[in-house]
C-alpha cells in the first residue's frame, strides 16, 4: 500500500486538459519530484493534492484516506509556496506559529516548539525579525519551518528554490535533503530544474503536456530514459535514426545509417520494440569518444567549460552536429568519433 496514491487524475481549465489521466504511487518517507517544463501540469497536480484545485476525475489518497471531500485546511499536507507567501503583517515567530493555533499549546511549550523549529532551519535568534527584513534564503526557511512545524504527513514544495541565486540554491538543496532525512516526512517537490530534481530526489516523475512520461530513480532516468522527450529533457542527447534487424536474449542489432550496423545490450532497448521497427538510437555527449578511426567529422565549434569542453562535430549525411563532451579534442580539422555500444540506448520514435 503506497502512502500517496493518485489514480486517473484529470483536470481541465476552460476545455483545455492540463492534467490528463495521471496515476502515481509515492512511498512513505520518499523524496519525490515532479519534473517538467512550465505548463506541463505539475503545479496543478500539486495544488490538487493540497486541495486548492479539485480534480475533474480520479482519486487522491493520502495514507489510506481518500482526499476528494477534504478541504485544504483539513488535509494532512503542508505546502511551501513558490512565492513563499510569508504573512507580511507577522514576524518570523508568529509566521512559524501560525498553524499551531488549534493545538492550544501553553505559551512555554509553543515557544520551545517554535525555537526548536527555528534551529532546524538555522534561523536561531531571528524570531523577532519582521517579514520584510528577511533575505530570499531566510524567507525560504521561514516558509519551510511554517509548514514543517505542523508535522504534516506530506510536505509539498512548489519550485521552492526557484527564486534563489545559484550558490544559495545549491546550499539549500543540500539542506533540504538533510532536513528530509532527519525528520523522515514524505516530500513532494515540483520543479522545472532537472539538476534539482535529480540531485534531491529518490524518484522523479517526468511530466509533459499533462501526462507522466516516466517515473524512475534519477540514475535510471538519465541512463535509461524510456522516450525521446525524457532523454531530451534530462541532460543532452544525440539521436540517430535506426531500424531493428535482430533481437536476441542478450543483444539487439540495428542498422543505424551513418553509424552502420550496431549491436548493443538488450537491456538498453526500451520495452515493446520489435524486429523491423524504426527506432531512435541515443547516446549522451559524454559517452561519445574521439578515436583514431570511426565516424569521420569536422569540429564545428568548441566550448571550454572548465573541467570539460563541449564540442559540436559535423558529420556527413546528418544535418544536426553530434554533441561530444570530453577533456580535450585531438586536433582541429577532421576527427573520428567512436560510439561505445554499451552506451547506446534504443528508444521508440515519437509516433
Amino acid at each position: 500500500m503506497s502512502f500517496l496514491s493518485l489514480s486517473g487524475i484529470r483536470k481541465s481549465f476552460g476545455g483545455l486538459a492540463v492534467v490528463n489521466d495521471v496515476s502515481l504511487e509515492v512511498a512513505r518517507g520518499e523524496f519525490f519530484a515532479l519534473l517538467g517544463p512550465s505548463g506541463c501540469g505539475k503545479t496543478t497536480l500539486l495544488r490538487m493534492i493540497a486541495g486548492f484545485e479539485t480534480q475533474d476525475n480520479g482519486t487522491i489518497t493520502i495514507d489510506g484516506e481518500a482526499m476528494n471531500a477534504v478541504p485544504p485546511h483539513q488535509r494532512p499536507t503542508n505546502m511551501v509556496f513558490q512565492s513563499y507567501a510569508i504573512f507580511p503583517h507577522l514576524n518570523v515567530f508568529d509566521n512559524i506559529a501560525y498553524g499551531l493555533r488549534k493545538r492550544k499549546l501553553p505559551r512555554d511549550a509553543l515557544r520551545a516548539k517554535v525555537e526548536a523549529m527555528l534551529a532546524t532551519v538555522r534561523l536561531e535568534g531571528l524570531g523577532g525579525r519582521a517579514a520584510d527584513q528577511l533575505s530570499g534564503g531566510q524567507r525560504q526557511r521561514v516558509a519551510l519551518a511554517r509548514a514543517l512545524i505542523r508535522e504534516p504527513k506530506l510536505l509539498l514544495l512548489d519550485e521552492p528554490l526557484g527564486a534563489l541565486d545559484k550558490r544559495l540554491r545549491e546550499a539549500m538543496q543540500l539542506e533540504l535533503r538533510a532536513i528530509q532525512r532527519q525528520i523522515g516526512i514524505t516530500f513532494l517537490l515540483v520543479t522545472h530544474d532537472q539538476e534539482e530534481a535529480l540531485s534531491l530526489s529518490d524518484r522523479v516523475a517526468v511530466m509533459e503536456s499533462g501526462r507522466i512520461l516516466q517515473v524512475a530513480a534519477p540514475r535510471t532516468l538519465y541512463e535509461r530514459p524510456n522516450c525521446r522527450q525524457v532523454a531530451d529533457f534530462i541532460g543532452e542527447m544525440n539521436f540517430f535514426h535506426a531500424t531493428v534487424r535482430q533481437i536476441t536474449d542478450a543483444e539487439v542489432t540495428v542498422n543505424a545509417g551513418i553509424l552502420g550496423i550496431v549491436t548493443f545490450p538488450r537491456a538498453n532497448l526500451a520495452p515493446g520494440i520489435t524486429v523491423d521497427q524504426h527506432i531512435l538510437l541515443a547516446i549522451r555527449p559524454e559517452h561519445v569518444r574521439f578515436a583514431d578511426s570511426g565516424v569521420a567529422g569536422e569540429i564545428a565549434d568548441a566550448t571550454f567549460l572548465g573541467a570539460r569542453s563541449h564540442f559540436h562535430v559535423r558529420v556527413a549525411g546528418r544535418t544536426e552536429p553530434v554533441a561530444v563532451s570530453g577533456h580535450a579534442a585531438p586536433s582541429r580539422g577532421t576527427v573520428h568519433l567512436a560510439f561505445p555500444p554499451d552506451r547506446l540506448i534504443g528508444l521508440p520514435t515519437d509516433d
Binding site: N78, F81, A85, P88, G99
Partner: protein, 263 residues
C-alpha cells in the same frame, strides 16, 4: 518671466481656494452680529450660544448617526464587493462595477428626486433611515474604489497559505485578510463618513422632520442674527474635517509602508 507668472497664478489660485474658508473661523470669533470688516473685537460667545442650542445639537446627533451607519454599511458592502471582484473571475464583474459606480455620475438632484418619489410610491416615511439609503448610493462607490485598490496588491497565496496551515475561510479573514486590509478599511470608513456628514441635497429631500446638520444650517440662514453661530459651527466642522483627513492620510501611509504581497 514665465515662471514668475506661473508662481503668481499658483498663489492666486490657493488664495481663491482657501481665503473664503479662513473667513469662517475669523468671523466666528468676531464680536458683532454683522459679517463685515472691520472686525470689532474677540469673543467666544457664538461658541457658547452653540453649546446651549438644543436643536443644533439634535441635528448634529442626527448627522453623526447617519454618518456612522452609512460609513459602516458602505464599507462592509464595499469590502464584500471588492473581495469578490479582485479574488474571483466573475462573469459580469465589470458591468456590476459600472452600475455600482453610476450614482457618482448621476446628479444628486436627480437621485434625490427619484428616491423621494420611490419612497412616496412605496408608502415609506421620510426619515434618517431614508437618508442613510440615499447616502449608501453615493458612498459605496467611494468605499469600493479605496478597497479594490488595496485588494489588488494582495497576494492570493496568502489566503491559500492560511488554509494550508489549517484555518478555514472565516479565521483566514480575521487572521490575514482583515489585518492587511485594515488601512484600507479605516480610509474607507473616514471617506464615507465625511461624504455622508457633508451631504446636503439628498438629506434635504429625504430627512423629513429630522434635519441633519447641513440641512439645519441651511434653515438657520434665514435668521441673520444666528449667522455668527452658524459660522462658529462651520469652524468646528472645518477643524474636525481637517483632523479626520490628516488621520486618514496617516493611517494610509502606515499601511503603504508595509508590503502587501507575501514577503
Amino acid at each position: 518671466m514665465k515662471n514668475r507668472g506661473l508662481l503668481f497664478y499658483a498663489f492666486a489660485y490657493l488664495a481663491f481656494l482657501y481665503l473664503p474658508v479662513l473667513v469662517l473661523p475669523v468671523f466666528s470669533f468676531n464680536n458683532s452680529e454683522f459679517i463685515a470688516f472691520p472686525l470689532s473685537g474677540f469673543t467666544t460667545r457664538w461658541y457658547a450660544a452653540l453649546a446651549s442650542d438644543g436643536a443644533m445639537q439634535h441635528a448634529l446627533g442626527n448627522s453623526l448617526k447617519v454618518g456612522i451607519v452609512t460609513a459602516l454599511l458602505s464599507t462592509i458592502l464595499g469590502l464584500s464587493a471588492a473581495r469578490a471582484v479582485t479574488r474571483y473571475r466573475l462573469r459580469g464583474a465589470g458591468a456590476a462595477l459600472g452600475f455600482i459606480s453610476l450614482p457618482l455620475f448621476i446628479p444628486d438632484i436627480v437621485l434625490g428626486l427619484s428616491l423621494l418619489l420611490l419612497l412616496g410610491a412605496a408608502g415609506l416615511p421620510l426619515s434618517l433611515a431614508a437618508v442613510v439609503l440615499g447616502h449608501l448610493l453615493v458612498c459605496v462607490p467611494f468605499a469600493l474604489t479605496v478597497l479594490i485598490a488595496r485588494f489588488e496588491g494582495f497576494d492570493r497565496n496568502l489566503d491559500e497559505a492560511s488554509a494550508d496551515l489549517g484555518e478555514d475561510g472565516w479565521m483566514t479573514f480575521w487572521r490575514v485578510t482583515f489585518p492587511l486590509m485594515l488601512p484600507g478599511i479605516v480610509a474607507s470608513l473616514l471617506l464615507t463618513f465625511i461624504t455622508s456628514f457633508d451631504e446636503f441635497l439628498l438629506a434635504y429631500f429625504l430627512s423629513g422632520t429630522e434635519a441633519t446638520l447641513p440641512v439645519y444650517i441651511w434653515g438657520q440662514l434665514r435668521f441673520p442674527e444666528r449667522l455668527p453661530m452658524v459660522l462658529a459651527l462651520g469652524a468646528i466642522i472645518l477643524g474636525a474635517s481637517v483632523g479626520l483627513v490628516i488621520l486618514a492620510e496617516y493611517v494610509r501611509n502606515l499601511g503603504a509602508r508595509k508590503p502587501m504581497v507575501g514577503a
